[in-house]
Symmetry: C2
Amino acid sequence: MKTILATTATALVLSAGVFSPAVANEAAIKARQSLMQLYAFNLGQLGAMAKGTMEYDSGAAQAAADNLLAAASMNQMAMWPEGSDNVAMAGKTAALPEIWTTFPKITESSQALVAAAESMASVAGNDLDSLRGAMGEIGKSCGGCHKSFRASND
Amino acid sequence: MKTILATTATALVLSAGVFSPAVANEAAIKARQSLMQLYAFNLGQLGAMAKGTMEYDSGAAQAAADNLLAAASMNQMAMWPEGSDNVAMAGKTAALPEIWTTFPKITESSQALVAAAESMASVAGNDLDSLRGAMGEIGKSCGGCHKSFRASND
Protein backbone atom coordinates (compact mmCIF):
# COMPACT_ATOMS: atom_id res chain seq x y z
CA MET A 1 0.00 0.00 0.00
CA LYS A 2 2.93 2.38 0.46
CA THR A 3 3.41 2.86 -3.25
CA ILE A 4 -0.29 3.44 -3.66
CA LEU A 5 -0.14 6.39 -1.31
CA ALA A 6 3.17 7.67 -2.55
CA THR A 7 1.95 10.30 -4.96
CA THR A 8 -0.18 13.29 -4.17
CA ALA A 9 -2.25 12.61 -7.26
CA THR A 10 -3.23 9.17 -6.02
CA ALA A 11 -3.82 10.39 -2.49
CA LEU A 12 -6.25 12.98 -3.81
CA VAL A 13 -8.00 10.35 -5.87
CA LEU A 14 -8.31 8.05 -2.89
CA SER A 15 -9.60 10.77 -0.60
CA ALA A 16 -12.26 11.60 -3.19
CA GLY A 17 -13.55 8.05 -3.11
CA VAL A 18 -15.13 7.91 0.35
CA PHE A 19 -18.31 7.72 1.14
CA SER A 20 -21.05 8.93 3.37
CA PRO A 21 -24.25 8.53 1.32
CA ALA A 22 -24.50 12.29 0.67
CA VAL A 23 -20.84 12.59 -0.30
CA ALA A 24 -21.12 9.49 -2.50
CA ASN A 25 -24.23 10.91 -4.17
CA GLU A 26 -22.49 14.21 -4.85
CA ALA A 27 -19.52 12.41 -6.38
CA ALA A 28 -21.86 10.35 -8.55
CA ILE A 29 -23.76 13.45 -9.68
CA LYS A 30 -20.50 15.20 -10.55
CA ALA A 31 -19.36 12.17 -12.52
CA ARG A 32 -22.52 11.90 -14.60
CA GLN A 33 -22.56 15.67 -15.19
CA SER A 34 -18.96 15.37 -16.39
CA LEU A 35 -20.03 12.63 -18.75
CA MET A 36 -22.82 14.88 -20.12
CA GLN A 37 -20.21 17.64 -20.61
CA LEU A 38 -18.19 15.25 -22.73
CA TYR A 39 -21.28 14.38 -24.76
CA ALA A 40 -21.92 18.11 -25.23
CA PHE A 41 -18.34 18.97 -26.17
CA ASN A 42 -18.02 16.27 -28.80
CA LEU A 43 -21.57 16.81 -30.10
CA GLY A 44 -20.79 20.52 -30.17
CA GLN A 45 -17.92 19.88 -32.58
CA LEU A 46 -20.05 17.64 -34.78
CA GLY A 47 -22.97 20.08 -34.63
CA ALA A 48 -20.77 23.05 -35.53
CA MET A 49 -19.48 21.19 -38.58
CA ALA A 50 -23.04 20.20 -39.51
CA LYS A 51 -24.13 23.84 -39.25
CA GLY A 52 -21.07 25.10 -41.11
CA THR A 53 -19.79 27.29 -38.27
CA MET A 54 -16.74 25.04 -38.01
CA GLU A 55 -14.98 23.77 -41.12
CA TYR A 56 -15.51 20.06 -41.72
CA ASP A 57 -12.37 18.10 -40.91
CA SER A 58 -12.50 14.37 -41.42
CA GLY A 59 -10.04 13.51 -38.62
CA ALA A 60 -11.61 15.88 -36.10
CA ALA A 61 -15.10 14.65 -36.96
CA GLN A 62 -14.07 11.03 -36.54
CA ALA A 63 -12.33 11.80 -33.23
CA ALA A 64 -15.41 13.58 -31.88
CA ALA A 65 -17.68 10.74 -32.99
CA ASP A 66 -15.38 8.11 -31.48
CA ASN A 67 -15.22 10.07 -28.21
CA LEU A 68 -18.99 10.40 -28.12
CA LEU A 69 -19.38 6.66 -28.62
CA ALA A 70 -16.79 5.90 -25.93
CA ALA A 71 -18.54 8.23 -23.49
CA ALA A 72 -22.03 6.90 -24.29
CA SER A 73 -20.78 3.33 -23.87
CA MET A 74 -19.41 3.84 -20.37
CA ASN A 75 -20.93 1.81 -17.57
CA GLN A 76 -22.99 4.34 -15.61
CA MET A 77 -24.29 2.07 -12.84
CA ALA A 78 -22.15 3.73 -10.15
CA MET A 79 -23.14 7.21 -11.35
CA TRP A 80 -26.86 6.88 -10.60
CA PRO A 81 -27.22 5.66 -7.00
CA GLU A 82 -30.72 5.69 -5.53
CA GLY A 83 -31.24 8.88 -3.61
CA SER A 84 -29.34 11.04 -6.10
CA ASP A 85 -32.49 12.59 -7.63
CA ASN A 86 -33.54 16.23 -7.65
CA VAL A 87 -35.79 15.82 -4.61
CA ALA A 88 -33.26 14.16 -2.33
CA MET A 89 -30.38 16.25 -3.71
CA ALA A 90 -32.22 19.49 -4.47
CA GLY A 91 -30.10 22.12 -6.17
CA LYS A 92 -27.44 19.61 -7.18
CA THR A 93 -29.12 17.81 -10.04
CA ALA A 94 -32.07 17.96 -12.43
CA ALA A 95 -32.47 14.17 -12.45
CA LEU A 96 -36.11 13.24 -11.79
CA PRO A 97 -37.10 10.45 -9.37
CA GLU A 98 -38.80 8.77 -12.36
CA ILE A 99 -35.36 7.51 -13.38
CA TRP A 100 -35.50 5.11 -10.45
CA THR A 101 -39.25 4.51 -10.15
CA THR A 102 -39.49 3.44 -13.80
CA PHE A 103 -36.09 1.73 -14.00
CA PRO A 104 -34.91 0.17 -16.31
CA LYS A 105 -36.91 2.36 -18.71
CA ILE A 106 -34.11 4.94 -18.87
CA THR A 107 -31.73 2.33 -20.26
CA GLU A 108 -33.79 2.37 -23.48
CA SER A 109 -32.75 5.99 -23.94
CA SER A 110 -29.11 5.30 -23.23
CA GLN A 111 -29.16 2.35 -25.63
CA ALA A 112 -30.69 4.65 -28.27
CA LEU A 113 -27.81 7.08 -27.74
CA VAL A 114 -25.25 4.30 -28.10
CA ALA A 115 -26.91 3.15 -31.33
CA ALA A 116 -27.01 6.72 -32.69
CA ALA A 117 -23.37 7.27 -31.70
CA GLU A 118 -22.41 4.03 -33.44
CA SER A 119 -24.11 5.24 -36.61
CA MET A 120 -22.33 8.57 -36.33
CA ALA A 121 -18.94 6.96 -35.68
CA SER A 122 -19.35 4.72 -38.73
CA VAL A 123 -19.73 7.71 -41.10
CA ALA A 124 -18.49 10.95 -39.48
CA GLY A 125 -15.04 10.72 -41.08
CA ASN A 126 -16.40 10.04 -44.58
CA ASP A 127 -17.80 13.44 -45.56
CA LEU A 128 -19.94 16.30 -44.31
CA ASP A 129 -23.20 15.02 -45.77
CA SER A 130 -22.82 11.68 -43.99
CA LEU A 131 -22.14 13.49 -40.72
CA ARG A 132 -25.23 15.66 -41.22
CA GLY A 133 -27.31 12.60 -41.97
CA ALA A 134 -26.36 11.03 -38.64
CA MET A 135 -27.17 14.10 -36.50
CA GLY A 136 -30.95 13.68 -36.35
CA GLU A 137 -30.85 10.29 -34.67
CA ILE A 138 -28.46 11.67 -32.04
CA GLY A 139 -30.70 14.63 -31.29
CA LYS A 140 -33.69 12.34 -30.93
CA SER A 141 -31.86 10.11 -28.47
CA CYS A 142 -30.80 13.13 -26.36
CA GLY A 143 -34.40 14.30 -26.24
CA GLY A 144 -35.63 10.81 -25.33
CA CYS A 145 -33.85 11.04 -22.00
CA HIS A 146 -34.03 14.76 -21.30
CA LYS A 147 -37.78 15.06 -21.87
CA SER A 148 -38.80 12.19 -19.60
CA PHE A 149 -36.13 12.16 -16.95
CA ARG A 150 -34.75 15.66 -16.50
CA ALA A 151 -36.44 18.60 -14.78
CA SER A 152 -37.06 21.52 -17.10
CA ASN A 153 -35.10 24.73 -16.61
CA ASP A 154 -38.28 26.78 -17.08
CA MET B 1 -31.37 20.52 -41.09
CA LYS B 2 -34.86 20.86 -39.64
CA THR B 3 -34.66 17.61 -37.79
CA ILE B 4 -31.27 18.56 -36.44
CA LEU B 5 -32.73 21.61 -34.77
CA ALA B 6 -35.95 19.96 -33.73
CA THR B 7 -35.09 19.13 -30.13
CA THR B 8 -34.10 21.53 -27.43
CA ALA B 9 -31.37 19.16 -26.38
CA THR B 10 -29.70 19.30 -29.75
CA ALA B 11 -30.19 23.05 -30.04
CA LEU B 12 -28.37 23.48 -26.73
CA VAL B 13 -25.60 21.24 -27.89
CA LEU B 14 -25.21 23.16 -31.12
CA SER B 15 -25.19 26.53 -29.42
CA ALA B 16 -22.46 25.28 -27.09
CA GLY B 17 -20.23 24.48 -30.04
CA VAL B 18 -19.38 27.96 -31.32
CA PHE B 19 -16.53 29.56 -31.29
CA SER B 20 -14.72 32.75 -30.59
CA PRO B 21 -11.22 31.71 -29.49
CA ALA B 22 -11.95 32.51 -25.83
CA VAL B 23 -15.28 30.68 -25.88
CA ALA B 24 -13.71 27.74 -27.68
CA ASN B 25 -10.88 27.64 -25.13
CA GLU B 26 -13.33 27.68 -22.24
CA ALA B 27 -15.32 24.83 -23.79
CA ALA B 28 -12.11 22.84 -24.30
CA ILE B 29 -11.01 23.48 -20.71
CA LYS B 30 -14.40 22.36 -19.41
CA ALA B 31 -14.23 19.22 -21.53
CA ARG B 32 -10.79 18.18 -20.30
CA GLN B 33 -11.72 18.97 -16.70
CA SER B 34 -14.78 16.77 -17.15
CA LEU B 35 -12.54 14.02 -18.43
CA MET B 36 -10.32 14.38 -15.33
CA GLN B 37 -13.47 14.16 -13.16
CA LEU B 38 -14.28 10.85 -14.82
CA TYR B 39 -10.73 9.63 -14.17
CA ALA B 40 -11.13 10.70 -10.53
CA PHE B 41 -14.55 9.12 -10.05
CA ASN B 42 -13.56 5.75 -11.44
CA LEU B 43 -10.16 5.80 -9.75
CA GLY B 44 -11.95 6.80 -6.56
CA GLN B 45 -13.99 3.60 -6.71
CA LEU B 46 -10.93 1.46 -7.38
CA GLY B 47 -8.92 3.29 -4.71
CA ALA B 48 -11.66 2.89 -2.12
CA MET B 49 -11.76 -0.86 -2.77
CA ALA B 50 -7.95 -1.00 -2.58
CA LYS B 51 -8.03 0.80 0.77
CA GLY B 52 -10.92 -1.30 2.06
CA THR B 53 -13.30 1.64 2.59
CA MET B 54 -15.57 0.20 -0.09
CA GLU B 55 -16.24 -3.51 -0.29
CA TYR B 56 -14.55 -5.19 -3.25
CA ASP B 57 -17.08 -6.06 -5.92
CA SER B 58 -15.80 -7.77 -9.03
CA GLY B 59 -18.39 -6.27 -11.41
CA ALA B 60 -18.08 -2.74 -10.04
CA ALA B 61 -14.28 -2.94 -10.11
CA GLN B 62 -14.29 -4.12 -13.70
CA ALA B 63 -16.77 -1.40 -14.70
CA ALA B 64 -14.65 1.31 -13.07
CA ALA B 65 -11.50 0.00 -14.73
CA ASP B 66 -13.18 -0.24 -18.14
CA ASN B 67 -14.53 3.31 -17.76
CA LEU B 68 -11.09 4.59 -16.78
CA LEU B 69 -9.55 2.94 -19.82
CA ALA B 70 -12.27 4.34 -22.11
CA ALA B 71 -11.76 7.84 -20.69
CA ALA B 72 -7.96 7.66 -20.89
CA SER B 73 -8.18 6.43 -24.48
CA MET B 74 -10.28 9.34 -25.73
CA ASN B 75 -8.81 11.57 -28.41
CA GLN B 76 -7.97 14.79 -26.54
CA MET B 77 -6.62 16.84 -29.45
CA ALA B 78 -9.62 19.21 -29.49
CA MET B 79 -9.46 19.64 -25.71
CA TRP B 80 -6.03 21.27 -25.60
CA PRO B 81 -6.02 24.15 -28.08
CA GLU B 82 -3.02 26.47 -28.00
CA GLY B 83 -3.82 29.45 -25.84
CA SER B 84 -5.76 27.43 -23.25
CA ASP B 85 -2.96 27.52 -20.65
CA ASN B 86 -3.02 29.05 -17.18
CA VAL B 87 -1.36 32.27 -18.37
CA ALA B 88 -3.70 33.02 -21.26
CA MET B 89 -6.74 31.67 -19.39
CA ALA B 90 -5.80 32.64 -15.82
CA GLY B 91 -8.22 31.44 -13.18
CA LYS B 92 -9.81 28.90 -15.52
CA THR B 93 -7.16 26.20 -15.64
CA ALA B 94 -3.99 24.97 -13.96
CA ALA B 95 -2.51 23.74 -17.27
CA LEU B 96 1.05 25.06 -17.65
CA PRO B 97 2.30 26.53 -20.94
CA GLU B 98 4.96 23.77 -20.89
CA ILE B 99 2.30 21.43 -22.25
CA TRP B 100 2.56 23.25 -25.56
CA THR B 101 6.20 24.39 -25.51
CA THR B 102 7.43 20.83 -24.92
CA PHE B 103 4.76 19.08 -27.01
CA PRO B 104 4.54 16.14 -27.69
CA LYS B 105 6.25 15.34 -24.37
CA ILE B 106 2.92 15.28 -22.54
CA THR B 107 1.70 12.45 -24.75
CA GLU B 108 4.23 10.18 -22.99
CA SER B 109 2.29 10.75 -19.77
CA SER B 110 -1.06 10.08 -21.38
CA GLN B 111 0.31 6.93 -23.02
CA ALA B 112 1.57 5.83 -19.60
CA LEU B 113 -1.93 6.31 -18.20
CA VAL B 114 -3.47 4.28 -21.02
CA ALA B 115 -0.96 1.48 -20.40
CA ALA B 116 -1.64 1.54 -16.65
CA ALA B 117 -5.40 1.57 -17.26
CA GLU B 118 -5.04 -1.39 -19.62
CA SER B 119 -3.18 -3.32 -16.91
CA MET B 120 -5.88 -2.41 -14.40
CA ALA B 121 -8.72 -3.37 -16.75
CA SER B 122 -7.09 -6.74 -17.41
CA VAL B 123 -7.15 -7.71 -13.71
CA ALA B 124 -9.56 -5.50 -11.72
CA GLY B 125 -12.42 -7.98 -11.94
CA ASN B 126 -10.29 -10.94 -10.85
CA ASP B 127 -9.77 -10.25 -7.16
CA LEU B 128 -8.83 -7.53 -4.70
CA ASP B 129 -5.12 -8.34 -4.61
CA SER B 130 -4.87 -8.01 -8.39
CA LEU B 131 -6.63 -4.66 -8.24
CA ARG B 132 -4.28 -3.47 -5.51
CA GLY B 133 -1.29 -4.60 -7.54
CA ALA B 134 -2.36 -2.45 -10.48
CA MET B 135 -2.90 0.76 -8.46
CA GLY B 136 0.74 1.83 -8.18
CA GLU B 137 1.30 2.12 -11.90
CA ILE B 138 -1.84 4.24 -12.22
CA GLY B 139 -0.74 6.62 -9.46
CA LYS B 140 2.67 6.98 -11.07
CA SER B 141 1.13 7.89 -14.41
CA CYS B 142 -1.14 10.51 -12.79
CA GLY B 143 1.88 12.06 -11.11
CA GLY B 144 3.86 12.01 -14.35
CA CYS B 145 1.51 14.55 -15.86
CA HIS B 146 0.47 16.53 -12.79
CA LYS B 147 4.00 17.19 -11.56
CA SER B 148 5.34 18.51 -14.87
CA PHE B 149 2.35 20.09 -16.50
CA ARG B 150 -0.04 21.32 -13.83
CA ALA B 151 0.37 24.37 -11.60
CA SER B 152 0.56 23.50 -7.92
CA ASN B 153 -2.29 24.48 -5.62
CA ASP B 154 0.19 25.71 -3.01
